[in-house]
Symmetry: D2
Subunit: 151 residues, 4 copies
């Protein structure tokens, strides 16, 4: 990314927010690398995440892609801002199977109001990684809105 | 839909396939209406489905939209075919909160190889329904491929 | 739409803006109905609009869908605001052929900053209309920005 | 791309097909580099391609992105196959202005029936290039269907 993040504590802010995402705990997803403009999420494959063919459900692949792109955007936001997904589009390229899925989110354009991110999702099996999905996403920066519970 | 479904037992076939989607059980989603070309899925809101603001995670909204659109397409497929999501694009329109979410999937175009579907997701709270998301989706028909486990 | 448009002269504002879209003149597109929250654009099919099979180019179908959705959003904006497309996603459902294409844009959600619209594109041939494309789109309201030339 | 193209004359095939796209001539777009799995299209900026602010119309940006991704996919198809766009999703990141636009299409996944491509569009002004749009696209391979006129 060309710009340094406005909040030097971006990684701690991402970790705190991710810890509040109960849905990530439900599926067993965990944060991995957090860099300015990029975030990686890992998801061990489990039987209770699957669809009818025994692959991880495309919606769950979408969940980790959505969170990886959203937190990549969040790394570049000011400390007093919050982030919401406006929309995302995901292509499922290959069956989501193996030992674990890895979603790499990356910011393409970071604006004052909107942010555009991409996430590529890989499946790791027997030491090999296969690209299984790619997502393009739009996010909105909510200035002055706490990242914590609102309901 | 202009065409009657080629498999008169489409509803039983959808119920059997949905029952094999372990991911739907994990989040507590259930099938509601199943008609030729349309399927409705309901999801009671639970604390373990939320993101950092306390709303249902956008990825989980995407999961039920993806399944609703996919099963809407599946109702129109021959008995020996299986369905896979090629891609979907979802706009999140309002916070996913309330008592339950309802995803209505509907087929826009059903072809021999590809199918295009839409899903609208509503949140029900205190007797009122609010449109919270809308999805546009492409699916592929896999002729001669069993809908059961492949791994 | 549940809300009346904030600018009662919305139709004149749409017509003036459309007249400034040189690209619409290049392809021969014209405005048809303009209602609060919806706009229709017509495009007579011409040989110089086609792709290699002799159908209207998918990108040109996207052009009129983009403009129809964008102007549908513009009808609901204040008089001093301008509109820009953030993103759109279009499914091409059938060959774009016949005498003319008709793009119906419609607002799904109109917010202070963002607007979500849909456009369905039909081909008319020998008195029959066929749905040939459907688009889902996100737009941004630029408050206090003139709709006229900026370059 | 990991696989060599099945048709060694892929570049001539792309040039012949592009020459049949009357819509590309209408807007003044031209082919640049053609490699296995990637194609570049250039578009000199002209006043008759603009929207109301004087920037190139987002739909025209979509046109060259659609063609760049589609022809990138076409380079990897057998000699007797044709290509059609199933859907595309484009984010407009910055105003499309300057001297020329350059659309780089690239294949992400090439399958027997479906192909997924991406296109990034840059604007060149005074020797500098700015990323102004990014597109994600699904295409279908039509085996045994001539690429020439069908109407």
């Amino acid at each position: 990314m060309p710009h340094p993040p406005p909040d030097p504590d971006f990684a701690a802010r991402v970790r705190a927010s991710f810890a509040r995402q109960a849905a990530m705990a439900l599926i067993g997803a965990a944060l991995d690398a957090i860099e300015p403009g990029s975030v990686t999420i890992e998801l061990p494959v489990r039987a209770d995440l699957t669809q009818q063919h025994g692959f991880v459900h495309g919606g769950i692949v979408g969940m980790i892609a959505d969170s990886a792109g959203g937190y990549a955007a969040f790394t570049l936001m000011p400390a007093d801002a919050s982030v919401l997904t406006v929309e995302y589009k995901i292509n499922l390229l290959a069956p989501a199977q193996g030992e674990r899925l890895i979603a790499h989110g990356r910011v393409l354009k970071s604006g004052r109001t909107l942010c555009v991110a991409r996430a590529d999702v890989y499946a790791r099996a027997a030491g090999r990684e296969t690209l299984i999905a790619t997502m393009q996403q739009t996010l909105i920066v909510m200035h002055g809105v706490s990242d914590g519970p609102r309901v």
